[in-house]
């Protein structure tokens, strides 16, 4: 199989720097998700690895070998595009067969190869169709099949679920991890959907404006986001962010929320006395009875069932909105006055000016891309 190493990649378009001195290592067999908003440079990065565009500076190593100056066809990677990029003048079969044809495989090998991957992706019945006769889902599977069919050691998947409907996306999100694991390939997966990122990634690299802001396991990213922005991107409903100024008393470090002192667990010493933003995941809040220590009085304004959970919009006495999430079927309050409590262990504190998280344990060395 193949590991991937990017060293100090710089890519500019005209005066704009799209990738700024980016370094990244992906281990053999690992699935790395590139996550970030559009324009972050994810797709450019993928194309650099594929070899269809060239970096201005830096080196690309695949399987330990320098491939920077090698054209795409010599890199032996497989890629699926966000817009599928199917060849409109070829049947699905021929589309899928192109990587095998490039290897000058025999007709028989090609047929077997295409049909087996088509079966795996459940598109065996549309192989004779041209792309325009395929549904979006079928197109997406065809594109995926084409990327997989040559058993490439390195797979590049550029947001393959972006242009398919919700149902299919849901299905594929379940299917894909197994599929990728079975191939045993090294995978780089680009997405803008945090759930996809969480579901698929062994590690996630969160990108923004051409640099990796945070690199870590899905757990790390969720629990210890490097900054407010990342915290906001991961999680649905989005994290509650409230301005606070942590103080210290005998019991430890606390913040004031609606005149209630909420004590935080964990190492937050650095935050004391600074203008901060506190991040509270909706699921880290729970309805409690009045009188529970640290209970914050709120007014429930609305309640929305969201699949397996229920999201409640509440308002604090200072008028700040707050989202509370609880699993369906658990007790809660749907209107009127209520009290909520904070799971103090999961509270996150960010510097208000810079947005950086304060007191992180796993500070990422962003320049080298390696976790400290």
């Amino acid at each position: 199989m193949a590991s991937l190493e990017l060293r100090n990649i710089v890519k500019r378009y005209k005066s704009q720097t799209v990738l700024d001195n980016l370094s990244l290592t992906v281990a053999d067999g690992e699935t790395l998700v590139l996550f970030g908003p559009s324009g972050a440079g994810k797709t450019v990065l993928l194309r650099l690895v594929a070899g269809v565009i060239d970096p201005d500076e830096g080196k690309i190593l695949i399987g330990g070998e320098d491939m920077t100056d090698l054209d795409a066809e010599f890199r032996g990677v497989g890629m699926a595009f966000q817009n599928f990029a199917l060849f409109p003048h070829m049947t699905a079969f021929d589309n899928i067969a192109t990587p095998l044809q490039a290897k000058h495989s025999s007709q028989g090998t090609i047929k077997t190869g295409v049909e087996s991957v088509a079966k795996l992706l459940k598109i065996g019945h549309v192989l004779s169709h041209k792309p325009r006769a395929l549904s979006n889902g079928q197109k997406q599977r065809t594109a995926l099949a084409r990327a997989l069919v040559g058993s490439p050691p390195l797979l590049l998947l550029d947001d393959p679920l972006r242009n398919v409907d919700a149902k299919l996306r849901f299905e594929m999100r379940l299917e894909l991890p197994r599929l990728l694991a079975d191939r045993g390939a090294t995978v780089i997966y680009v997405t803008q959907d945090y759930k996809e990122a969480m579901a698929l990634g062994d590690r996630i690299a969160v990108m923004s404006q051409g640099v990796v802001k945070q690199l870590g396991t899905p757990e790390q990213i969720y629990r210890e986001p490097a900054n407010v922005e990342i915290a906001r991107l991961f999680g649905d409903p989005t994290i509650n962010l409230l301005d606070v100024k942590p103080s210290r008393d005998a019991k430890g470090i606390y913040v004031g929320l609606s005149n209630v002192q909420v004590h935080l667990a964990g190492a937050h010493e650095a935050a004391v006395g600074r203008d901060c933003v506190i991040g509270l995941r909706p699921e880290a809040l729970a309805f409690v009875d009045e009188g529970t220590p640290g209970a914050i009085p709120v007014t429930v304004e609305a309640e929305t069932p969201l699949n397996e959970k229920i999201v409640t919009l509440a308002r604090t006495v200072r008028g700040r909105e707050i989202l509370v999430s609880r699993p369906s079927g658990t007790p809660g309050q749907s209107e009127g006055r209520a009290h909520i409590a904070v799971d103090s262990k999961s509270a996150l504190l960010f510097d208000r000016a810079s947005g950086e998280r304060i007191g992180s344990k796993n500070v990422v060395n962003l320049r080298s891309g390696e976790a400290a």
Partner: protein, 285 residues
């Protein structure tokens, strides 16, 4: 456009009919003249009824023209063959040179590519005579005067910029990802060009080629200045019917009809490429 009133449909029909009459009438009239002798053509006022004769076509095809001054040898069929040969070869060469260049301009934004592309296009707009006259001197020195090669070269002045400019638009309209996908699948740039870019731009290339063919076919002055009689196209050849014993109107008409026929046949054959090909969105760039 769905709900059109009856009145509007009638008006549209009338407008279309007028258009067809204006553009087709001269063709029809020339077609009729080509089946008449000089005598019936010269009747005043002109008449619709006549006894058709194939004499004009016979004269053109056999190369024997009967006139007051005796039988003249005419080389009209030779002119026709020259036109076919010159136009086909020129367009073929222009495609061979222009399509890869158009691809380069479309896909690779290399240093100075816009300037070079514009320079190439501007050749299309240089007055032909400006280049042609000194060119005769150089051709003489290079031994290209009076050769088909020299002529085909000069014809590039008409064909190449047209093809370059139009085809470039088609290539730009093909999403780059489709080509990337093929490269990543393990194919060389040349295979990608051949198997992906060319087939996808095919109708556009055909339409551009057809337009270039029409312009090459219609050219008059290049061969006249640069080549001897045996290499003249049909546009020059049709003038041979203005003879000292009178203007052979019937034969001129037949010559015009014969000279339109090959391009028309080509256009009919390739008609789906012409409109649909052009509407791929390439002309807009």
């Amino acid at each position: 456009m769905e709900h059109t009133s009856l009145l509007e449909r009638i008006l549209r029909g009338i407008a279309l009919a007028l258009v067809v009459i204006f553009f087709m009438f001269p063709i029809v009239w020339i077609l009729m003249m080509s089946f008449q002798t000089n005598e019936t053509i010269l009747r005043i006022p002109p008449q619709l009824v006549f006894e058709p004769t194939l004499a004009n076509y016979t004269a053109l095809i056999t190369g024997k023209l009967m006139t007051a001054a005796g039988t003249l040898d005419i080389a009209f069929m030779r002119n026709l063959c020259n036109s076919v040969f010159l136009s086909v070869t020129s367009v073929a060469v222009a495609l061979l040179l222009g399509v890869p260049a158009a691809y380069a301009f479309a896909r690779h934004k290399f240093r100075g590519s816009e300037d070079i592309a514009f320079t190439l296009l501007s050749f299309r707009f240089a007055p032909a005579l400006l280049v042609l006259l000194p060119l005769t001197l150089y051709f003489q020195k290079l031994g290209l005067a009076n050769t088909y090669i020299g002529l085909i070269w000069v014809y590039q002045l008409i064909c190449l910029p047209l093809i370059l400019w139009i085809v470039r638009g088609y290539f730009e309209d093909i999403p780059a990802d489709i080509e990337y996908a093929y490269r990543i699948a393990g194919h060389s740039w040349f295979a990608t060009f051949r198997k992906i870019a060319l087939p996808l731009a095919g109708p556009g290339i055909a339409a551009a080629g057809l337009l270039a063919f029409i312009f090459a076919w219609n050219n008059f002055v290049f061969a006249l200045v640069l080549a001897s009689a045996d290499k003249q196209p049909v546009t020059v050849g049709a003038l041979a019917f203005i003879t000292s014993s009178g203007i052979q109107y019937g034969q001129i008409s037949a010559a015009i009809v014969l000279s339109i026929t090959p391009t028309l046949a080509l256009a009919l054959y390739a008609q789906r490429y012409l409109v649909e090909g052009l509407s791929l969105g390439a002309v807009k760039g």
